[in-house]
Amino acid sequence: MRKMNYGQAINEALRNELRRDPNVFLMGEDVKYGVLGVTAGIVDEFGEERVRNTPISEEAVAGGAVGAAAAGSRPVAEIMFIDFSTIAMDQIVNQAAKMRYMFGGRITLPLTFRTMVGAGIQAAAQHSQSLEAWFTHIPGLKVVYPSTPKDALGLTIAAIRDDNPVIVLEHKLLYAMEGEVPDENEPIPIGVADVKKVGKDVTLVATGMMVHKCLNAAKQLSEEGIDVEVIDPRSLFPLDKDTIYNSIKKTHKVVLVSEEVKRGSWIGELSAMIAEEAFQDLNSPILRVAGLNTPVPFSKKLEDYFVPNEVDIIEAIKSII
């Protein structure tokens, strides 16, 4: 094992795939440098043809990736902030996600969209959103969301090698987070959850930055004798329901934690799924801890209030224990 941070892990995954497969190329606004440095330096090894800076034209970036994939390349297109995917929605939702189906399975689109999500750097309402639900709602897309350097490395590799459109959500606060990664660059299969902490009293399902808050909360609760299990689905679609349901069978309680605006969230879908398919194993209501139903505010104090924290998670758990 070796240590690196989440941003470096993504950088390494991209280099690994560029080296391995001549059809892979990167495109996006300022990918030559990377707005937070994630793609920095890659251009030195692979050149400006394969590490392609684009104009600020999100719809053409997304559509360019669709066309390049349809023509035989494996593009990795960066939509800098997920907030900007709003400008590219036709190409992501109506083109990338549907082309294979509409053409009767006779076209394959091996493309990856990378994009930054989440609050925490006072970037305000247009640079801080968590729009998971927008993309998990659309058949034809796969959505992955790594929470550790190891997962970032493995899932980015898997996304690029996948023959379907995959969206990789990267939490901007995680880039600097250090962790162990395997010596070999291996893909982590899309659709396999990771139990980040084993426990027996309550199941927490969390993604991205929230995984770490859940682990902190679990640590605090363990001092009070409450044993929390933390599951990171890693892939929002396809979803490893078995790992979640098996945990619920054991704990009979579930709290879902996400940074999304609560209304219409992906964890709203997950809670409906659990209610439909695992209700008999529950002995308390499914709870959701999520962002407030507001745009993400700028003020540090308000932003901190918007994002769920350990206190919110502990409170939710205690209300059903």
Binding site: A60, G67, D90, Q95
Partner: protein, 328 residues
């Protein structure tokens, strides 16, 4: 003009195949044999055929919601197209796409598209893939006057220009964006003038003259293959049918339509063939009969084909996941 007799006859045959196909589709739609939206290409045949006569199977095209003509011109087979319009499992898309979404990647057809202007970045991305691969292919993008007001038009042309991509943009200016005449949706007359803003050539040709379209495209494709970047070709033509079949067309006069019918692109080629003694009138009739027979067979093929099995609804969403679905 240096166009061989063989090429003239090939272009004529394709134009006629498109027209006859569309006539059949109009009848079948009126008879409720075909459902959904059907947007006919009737009257615009010279554009698709004049352009694609310059392309091989390896070259790529993106099409529009009015895509039958592009598909047939690029070599799409009428029986699989007809089966798709019928929603049958033998159709190009196994009955999942319909009129607006037919593709045949084996012939370089990256698909018709239900979203106006969506093909522009896709064709541009295909050209980027070609450039990265270093192959000799070109990408050709068909779109309409209405699409030239979309953001994708401007974003794509700018991108193709800075990267000198091997792409040719074919604007089919049929004078109407859905129900709105060109003068009401843009202040310019020649859409080709917009190319200047991106730093590459833009030209306007008579889109009802297949030879003019062929020659302009020939130049543009040479330019693209030689690494000199994109060209915008505006083909002025006319949509003889409504925006879709069943459109009451309250926005234009019958006189206007009749006037344009006198400028029919197929009649113009027939006149050229006869004036230049290329083939006899009997030969033309023979070609027409051959096409009609092919289309009889296509309709029969579609009618006799099976509806897709309900289980197929969940297939082809992903390459590797078929979700369990409720089948009644």
């Amino acid at each position: 003009m240096d166009i061989s007799k063989e090429l003239v006859m090939d272009m004529y045959t394709k134009m006629l195949r498109i027209r006859r196909f569309e006539q059949r589709v109009a009848e079948l739609f009126a008879a409720a044999k075909i459902g959904g939206f059907v947007h006919l290409y009737w009257g615009e045949e010279a554009v698709a055929v004049g352009v694609t006569a310059n392309l091989s199977n390896d070259d790529l095209i993106t099409s529009t919601h009015r895509g039958h003509g592009h598909l047939i011109a690029k070599g799409g087979e009428t029986k699989y197209m007809m089966a798709e319009l019928y929603g049958k499992e033998t159709g190009y898309c196994k009955g999942k796409g319909g009129s607006m979404h037919i593709a045949d990647a084996t012939k370089g057809i990256l698909g018709a598209n239900g979203i106006v202007g969506a093909g522009l970045p896709i064709a541009t991305g295909a050209a980027l893939s070609i450039k990265l691969r270093g192959s000799n292919q070109v990408s050709v993008c068909f779109f309409g006057d209405g699409a030239s007001n979309q953001g994708t038009f401007h974003e794509s042309m700018n991108m193709a220009a800075i990267w000198k991509l091997p792409v040719v943009y074919i604007c089919e200016n049929n004078l109407y964006g859905e129900f709105t005449p060109q003068k009401d949706h843009q202040a310019i007359t020649d859409i080709s003038s917009r190319a200047e803003a991106y730093g590459f050539p833009g030209i306007t040709v008579d889109g009802n003259d297949v030879f003019a379209v062929y020659e302009a495209t020939n130049e543009a494709i040479k330019r693209a293959r030689n690494g000199n970047g994109p060209t915008l070709i505006e083909c002025k033509t006319y949509r003889v049918r409504g925006h879709f079949e069943g459109d009451p067309q309250l926005y234009r006069s019958k006189e206007e339509v009749e006037e344009w019918k006198r400028n029919d692109p197929i009649m113009r080629v027939e006149r050229y063939i006869s004036e230049n003694g290329i083939v006899s009138e009997e030969k033309l009739k023979e070609i027409q009969k051959g096409i009609d027979k092919e289309l009889d067979e296509a309709v029969e093929f579609a009618e006799k084909s099976k509806d897709p099995d309900e289980k197929m609804v969940a297939e082809d969403v992903y390459t590797d996941i078929v979700e369990e679905v409720r089948v009644r």
